[in-house]
């Protein structure tokens, strides 16, 4: 019979293998939270043993954990430190875990301070890059307060319901940026981005998580006028959130695919990929 020590080591190894499996699936299956990892590993081990396995030095050396002893913290293999640092999962975890009823917006430095030490530099760099490129997750926004950028969950934003009678142009409104400076922050756009993101994630998951979804399926899923769809998708592309690629390959195109594709510079663009992690 294996000793307790061996059992913990085996459990740690099992968790690593599970992480590797998830990595093969890519986003959104990976990175994932510790709780999700434990659930996927389907281990019958008692919680104390799981804690020991996670705390084991050999395990810690091969993974990066956003925050120790926190089941909702994202985790990834050490080789994917960069990917974890730039993931929507990590940013959302930090904002969710830091927010209180009295404070819901945080500077990059405040967020950085709450991540594991080995993740801090990469996280800060990724966050600043996303702010600069306008490629933050769709449910996160930022605003400048006293010259400092503050990030928050869009769900925490309280919006007025009454229509303004003031003409829009003369007075510049405070700019709330969630998808990049180029994207107009209107309600329909936000709505499209959310619906598109959900449809994409679902279709991608069904297709095996290769980050490669056909416009045929997306158009069918979202069911909206072609012009609106194309315009809004173009906005998401400009914001660096999604990319299109050509409908090429050895097997040719069906009439349905031809019809769904977007023509650009003489090329039929058919497949959508997510650009942000």
């Amino acid at each position: 019979m294996a000793s307790k020590r061996d059992a913990v080591a085996d459990l740690a190894e099992q968790l690593i293998r599970q992480l590797e499996t998830q990595r093969r699936l890519g986003p959104p299956a990976y990175p994932l939270t510790v709780a999700q990892l434990l659930e996927l590993a389907e281990s019958a081990a008692p919680p104390a043993q799981l804690e020991k396995a996670i705390g084991k030095r050999s395990f810690q050396q091969r993974v990066v954990l956003a925050r120790a002893k926190h089941r909702d913290a994202p985790i990834a293999l050490m080789t994917d430190l960069e990917a974890l640092a730039g993931s929507a999962l990590l940013l959302e975890f930090l904002l969710t875990s830091l927010r209180t009823p009295s404070n819901q917006a945080f500077s990059p430095s405040q967020l950085k301070a709450k991540t594991a030490r080995k993740l801090q530099l990469a996280f800060q760099a990724a966050l600043l890059r996303q702010i600069e490129q306008g490629s933050l997750p769709v449910n996160v926004g930022w605003i400048t307060i006293h010259r400092s950028k503050k990030l928050f969950l869009l769900a925490d934003l309280h919006r007025g319901q009454q229509r303004s009678n003031v003409p829009r142009t003369p007075t510049p409104l405070p700019q709330i940026q969630g998808r990049g400076a180029d994207a107009p922050a209107t309600e329909p756009v936000r709505e499209f981005a959310e619906r598109f993101g959900q449809a994409f994630a679902e279709l991608d998951r069904r297709a095996g998580g290769h980050n490669f979804v056909s416009l045929v399926d997306l158009r069918a899923q979202l069911s909206m006028p072609r012009e609106t769809f194309d315009t809004e998708l173009q906005n998401l592309r400009r914001a660096g959130q999604y990319g299109l690629s050509a409908a090429e390959g050895r097997h040719g195109l069906t009439p349905e695919e031809r019809a769904a594709a977007i023509m650009e510079d003489g090329t039929s663009l058919l497949y959508v990929s997510r650009k942000t992690p």
Binding site: N211, F212, G249
Partner: protein
């Protein structure tokens, strides 16, 4: 066309800083002519920020394979022109610098599915030895073996070692390898490692002038999958064959795998990962892809310290998986990691152009006119006007398109510069106006002409690339047979069928590699042409192959024996007798064609260009700088139209043989032959 010079305007004492030098430089060449990477090169113009994350991921995987002693598979995918080959070239440069990894870059494999593993191994050995047949001490294979020997000896520079020390340490290291991973003990093939040791000692002694190094040559042949004569096998210390007078070669795919696994282990001693990089893998046919995937997945299971990179178009690779061309089990290993290349931002597109311009203007960097304009606009002489015309309103761009548009913009500026002269052109440029092109559209004939010209250019490029690196196209009968078969299928009239014959698992090998038969007549009565390809230095193998021809009870009407001049046709006493007997049948019945390396490269280039089109990597530029993809069928039509098949080596000989047959429907071949 040679560009006409721009009239001189000044008599500057320093010609490099004169504005005339700038005008001449712009008029003389277009830095955007080449818009695709065709393999690792030290001269690539690289913008490190583009696809930086993907590059780092590839590097991390190579390091992980080495550090964790694992076999890892990664697919590098994206659409054509997105920068896959470029990224692989950057990766190869990283591997070269500081000896980070041992990267074997492979493309355009042509062997039939059952022969692919051996053809792959042959190519790997050829790259590791740069195709040399002696002086192996200067090769990468020797350096890998040397590192392994040092590990065996636990090398201490202060000590002197005898060959006995090495043999003893070597045996102990193999014991340790077997003991470390009992599950993989069977993969530590002692015969393979024994041959590696003999290779090392022979190459080492040859370097010291103590022997001629011929044993090392035998080792390289055997490790590369070639057959050795029994006497050669004995010299190499191989265990005796059953029956004893048969040639000795790696027995099967399993042993081929063992050689590759051993090479991975040697690289590990050098603290390098061993990387097999397959570029444009999507231009294989499905049977080849299936066979390659099966073999590589098994290899990954057996090898520590191996990274397999498959690069191709994502849609094709995913379709191969969904239609089970690549089985799930193989897919899980080969696509364990996925690196996607997506379109670049417009800013990145500008950076690509700026990098080319910087390299192009390096020779005239002191020119004050140039530096002033570049300071104002880093994309001079394309500039803001070009950016507005080609990049405005773009959400994202394909790097190849950006280069095509830059080429178009440059051509327009060149035309205007020649027309106006330097100072007037510069003045006009300062006003921020883009040189216009005359709007026009092409007729189908013009498009066809452009395709012919592009295909001719690519065939020439591919041929030159092989000639520059002949070790990437080693003598290999299976590869040559697959290549000729593929070209014949493209070229022969539809009433002809090309049949591939392969060795059954048990029983006699077929006498021919390919049979060309004419359809529409009763089986057994139709005209047939048998083709046999030989590229071996083993006289025993040659004799066995010729014996099969001589003893064939129902030979085709015509037989062509094709050999590679680099190996020749080694004949022993019995082999000579068979060869003479075949010749006695007359020139109408038997011909021997010896192919030179240049001819082999020509055939490879014809098929390689078809492969480029299959991978979406062949495009012409329509007026206005709009790219248009050229399909594989259009390349085949161009080859036919331009008489490239009819003029190609071997194919020409085959056409002449077929043209001598009586049946009709041979007009095309007869005219080709004449």
């Amino acid at each position: 066309m040679t560009p006409s010079p721009v009239p001189s305007t000044s008599a500057d004492p320093n010609p490099e800083s004169s504005p005339d030098r700038l005008f001449d430089q712009i008029a003389s060449a277009n830095p955007f002519i080449d818009n695709r990477s065709s393999g690792p090169s030290a001269w690539d113009i690289d913008v490190a920020n583009i696809h930086a994350k993907q590059f780092e991921r590839l590097v991390a995987l190579a390091r992980e394979a080495q550090a964790e002693r694992r076999g890892l598979g990664v697919v590098l995918w994206g659409e054509a022109g997105i920068g896959k080959s470029h990224l692989l070239a950057r990766f190869a440069r990283w591997a070269e610098q500081d000896k980070n990894a041992c990267v074997i870059y492979l493309h355009n494999l042509q062997a039939r599915p059952e022969n692919l593993p051996r053809a792959l191994l042959k190519s790997v050995l050829s790259v590791l030895t740069r195709g040399q047949i002696d002086r192996f001490a200067a090769t990468l294979l020797f350096r890998l073996a040397n590192a392994f020997m040092r590990e065996a000896l636990q090398y201490d520079p202060a000590r002197t070692y005898s060959w006995q020390d090495l043999e003893s340490g070597y045996g102990q290291l193999l014991d340790r390898l077997s003991a470390e991973e009992p599950a993989r003990a069977a993969l530590v093939d002692r015969t393979v490692y024994h041959v590696v040791l003999n290779f090392f000692t022979s190459a080492y002694e040859a370097r010291e002038g103590a022997e001629d190094g011929s044993v090392a040559g035998l080792a390289v042949r055997w490790l590369g999958g070639d057959a050795l004569d029994p006497v050669e096998a004995r010299r190499l210390g191989l265990p005796p064959n059953r029956p004893r007078d048969e040639p000795a070669a790696l027995a099967d795919d399993q042993q081929i795998k063992h050689v590759l696994a051993a090479l991975c282990r040697l690289a590990s001693s050098r603290r390098q990962s061993f990387v097999l990089c397959f570029d444009q893998v999507d231009n294989l046919d499905t049977a080849q892809a299936a066979a390659l995937a099966r073999f590589l997945a098994a290899l990954l299971d057996s090898s520590a310290n191996l990274l397999v990179v498959l690069s191709g178009i994502q849609a094709t690779l995913l379709q191969w998986h969904s239609t089970k061309v690549i089985q799930d089990s193989a897919w899980d290993r080969l696509a364990q990691f996925q690196i996607a290349l997506l379109r670049s931002s417009v800013a990145e597109g500008r950076a690509i152009v700026a990098a080319r311009l910087q390299r192009f203007f390096q020779p005239i960097a002191p020119c004050e006119t140039l530096s002033r304009h570049v300071q104002d606009d880093p994309l001079f002489p394309l500039g803001k006007a070009w950016t507005d015309a080609f990049l405005a309103n773009k959400a994202e761009v394909r790097p190849r398109d950006v280069l095509t548009w830059a080429r178009e913009g440059w051509q327009r500026e060149q035309a205007l510069l020649r027309q106006l002269g330097g100072p007037a052109w510069l003045e006009r440029w300062g006003m921020g106006r883009l040189a216009e092109s005359t709007p026009q559209s092409w007729t189908p004939q013009q498009i066809q002409g452009a395709i012919d010209s592009k295909v001719a250019q690519k065939v020439a490029e591919q041929r030159v690339q092989r000639e520059v690196e002949p070790h990437t196209l080693p003598p290999n009968a299976a590869n040559l047979a697959g290549l000729v078969g593929a070209l014949l299928e493209q070229w022969l009239p539809p009433d002809h069928q090309v049949e591939y014959l392969s060795a059954p698992p048990v029983g006699r090998r077929p006498a021919y590699d390919l049979i060309v038969r004419q359809r529409g007549q009763r089986r057994g009565e139709e005209p047939r042409l048998g083709l046999l390809f030989l590229a071996t230095a083993s006289a025993h193998s040659t004799t066995a192959a010729l014996r099969r021809l001589v003893q064939d009870a129902h030979p085709p009407q015509q037989i062509i024996l094709i050999t590679d001049e680099r190996t020749g046709l080694p004949l022993g006493r019995v082999g000579t007798r068979h060869y003479q007997e075949l010749h006695r049948r007359g020139h109408q019945r038997f011909q021997h064609v010896q192919i030179t390396f240049a001819e082999y490269a020509e055939l490879d280039a014809l098929q390689g260009t078809v492969g480029l089109a299959r991978s979406g990597d062949l495009e012409i530029d329509l007026p206005g700088g709009q790219p248009r993809a050229v399909r594989a069928e259009e390349v085949i039509a161009s080859h036919e139209r331009q008489g490239r098949y009819a003029a190609a080596p071997i194919l020409k000989a085959i056409s002449m043989v077929l043209a001598t047959e009586a049946p009709p429907a041979r007009a095309a071949l007869s005219s080709a032959a004449s």
